[in-house]
Symmetry: C2
Subunit: 141 residues, 2 copies
DNA sequence: ATAATTCCTATTGACAATATAGGAATTAGG
DNA sequence: CCTAATTCCTATATTGTCAATAGGAATTAT
């Protein structure tokens, strides 16, 4: 079981942003520098985050990214689902069609993976970016 | 997040074995045939399972593998830990030394990964092989 | 002896994750 | 306008891990 760097990077970057509590756009280069995430890779990640509505972008000089103010409570689950390609630990959980082994109906392990998946998502959905940002600010001070 | 085939295969194979409730060795080729798992790959997996004490092997003609009778309650967690290289979703959870980014002490996301990891292991440790085997037998009949 | 089995390691192959690259589109400010 | 700063978007290269194959050694029942 691995959490991909996409998910980790996204969360670290957004945590940093949340800790700033700014209402003006934050330059992505600053974020990359502060977090050590490769700039061009972070661009791709932010691209997805914007498409999914978590971030709002402003282009041009003094532009940057902003946590979408219309979403007062962004959860870690929102973020991870936006950037991770598959959040489900086994493909069979996506749908019956995704099961490659043709034993879907008699499969006894799928239920187990489902329980694991639910447990993970329940943690993810229970933590907000704001709380992470606050904790970050606290530690820095 | 992905569960590797090692973990899945191990569980499917052992579930099949548990459903047989035999006290004589089961031929690994039979298991490979019944489950569709590549034989030589399954050998590697069983090798690990034996080294970790979950399986007992008997070599030579009419040999095979047997669920270790000295372990009355094998859990799914035991199995997955035996075959999976890293069960922790991020390396930082293994130990402070494993964190590559030198921000261990101020890292606020690690706690989140820890909660996820705990949630997963709690599910894994709560399901026994026996229960899976019983369910399998039930479905087959 | 022989054949059937597990034992163990090495190597290859396939694929996804990671990262880099390059230019297009947009916009603030002079 | 013009320029520079920024995000936007896609394509490509690189890397690394997982999955699978291979081959022979050790063991043992008959
Ligand atoms: S193998 Fe697909 S549902 Fe179990
Ligand atoms: S990055 Fe290693 S502890 Fe958070």
């Amino acid at each position: 079981m691995k959490i991909s760097t996409k998910g980790r990077y996204a969360l670290e970057a957004l945590t940093y942003m949340a800790s700033l509590e700014k209402d003006t756009p934050v330059n992505i280069r600053e974020i990359a520098d502060q977090t050590g995430i490769p700039l061009k890779y972070l661009e791709q990640i932010f691209f997805r985050l914007r498409k999914s509505g978590i971030l709002v972008a402003k282009r041009g000089p003094s532009g940057g990214f902003l946590l979408n103010p219309a979403l007062p409570q962004i959860t870690v689950g929102d973020v991870v689902r936006a950037v991770e390609t598959d959040i489900k630990p086994v493909v069979c959980l996506k749908s019956r069609e995704h099961c490659e082994s043709g034993i879907y109906d008699t499969c006894v392990t799928r239920l187990l993976w489902k329980r694991i998946s639910d447990a993970v998502e329940s943690v993810l959905d229970g933590v907000t970016l704001q709380s992470l940002g606050d904790a970050y600010k606290e530690k820095k001070s």
